[in-house]
Symmetry: C2
Subunit: 178 residues, 2 copies
């Protein structure tokens, strides 16, 4: 997973995976009958179940509101600014590299985006219920916008990991939510 995350699918060779895991080719192929592609799918699954929940944090819990959304975005920026942060998000990377030519990957990525949108929508709804933001706001629409912004943040961060720029993007995304 870490290899695919860092280098991408085509750029990581099976030999890289052997070196990273310490598992020899024969064993790798008996454990993942689909070969390299199956290893990618397994990595995406593992990423979704281990890394994503950690990044989402409290945002995925029932009581989450605007503060938790903000915390998620702040974490995103912090990650992108760290040295190893340039690897970005495995799911976003896979979306760009493979989704257009690999329906299996596209499905997983779609699921991830849907999960993000659900979190945002729920948080905005409770924010309205708590009176933190005006009830005139459309949570579903705004959530889609936040999803796009989070993905865009990743692209911008890859090419230009500048704190000021990333913070400005996040701040802008939160205008009207306070």
């Amino acid at each position: 997973m870490r290899q695919f995350w860092k280098r991408g699918y085509r750029a990581t060779s099976v030999d890289d995976l052997v070196r990273a895991t310490g598992v020899r080719p024969g064993s790798l192929y008996s454990a993942f009958p689909g070969g390299k592609h199956a290893l990618l799918m397994g990595s995406l699954q593992r990423y979704s179940r281990l890394v994503v929940p950690q990044k989402l944090g409290e945002l995925e819990q029932p009581g989450a509101s605007v503060a938790q959304v903000r915390a998620y975005f702040d974490g995103l920026v912090r990650d992108l600014l760290s040295p190893e942060g340039r690897q970005g998000c495995l799911l976003v990377n896979s979306a760009i590299e493979n989704a257009a030519v690999d329906p299996e990957v596209a499905a997983v990525v779609q699921g991830h985006l849907a999960r993000l949108e659900r979190c945002f929508t729920a948080a905005l709804r409770t924010a309205i219920r708590l009176g933190e933001i005006p009830a005139s706001m459309d949570p579903a629409a705004r959530a889609k916008g936040l999803v796009a912004t989070s993905q865009g943040l990743m692209v911008v961060g890859k090419a230009n990991p500048d704190e000021e720029v990333l913070r400005a993007i996040v701040d802008n995304a939160f205008t009207g939510l306070s």
Copy 2:
């Protein structure tokens, strides 16, 4: 350029380029002394000078205002929904695939994002001057947000080219700019 655009850098072999251009390996390498990598850089340059201006359209002209920004985003959505649109934007694809490990690519992508931001900022400024939007808005900040949204749109479009979703993202990005 079209090959790199459609398949990405690592996924296109030199043989693919030979087949696509009709130019034999020997001639390719004498025309591009840097080999495959030089061909990518040349493609990025060609993309910036030919494809990008066409996509930006009137947005890059002096008098551009909110309407031209909107037209750009609408064009983006239209492209993403077309069958060949799933290839997305060569510069975004390269940002995700190569920018983190290839400084030359990162520089070109950075230049592109800066160009986008400049267009948006200028358009928002003239919109304020024309009274189309309130003078209280910060054009620079909002422009950065629009850049992120445009990049995010590309990622979402790759995995889930759904018209309703994409339109919602654009509409959301334009709240407050009428």
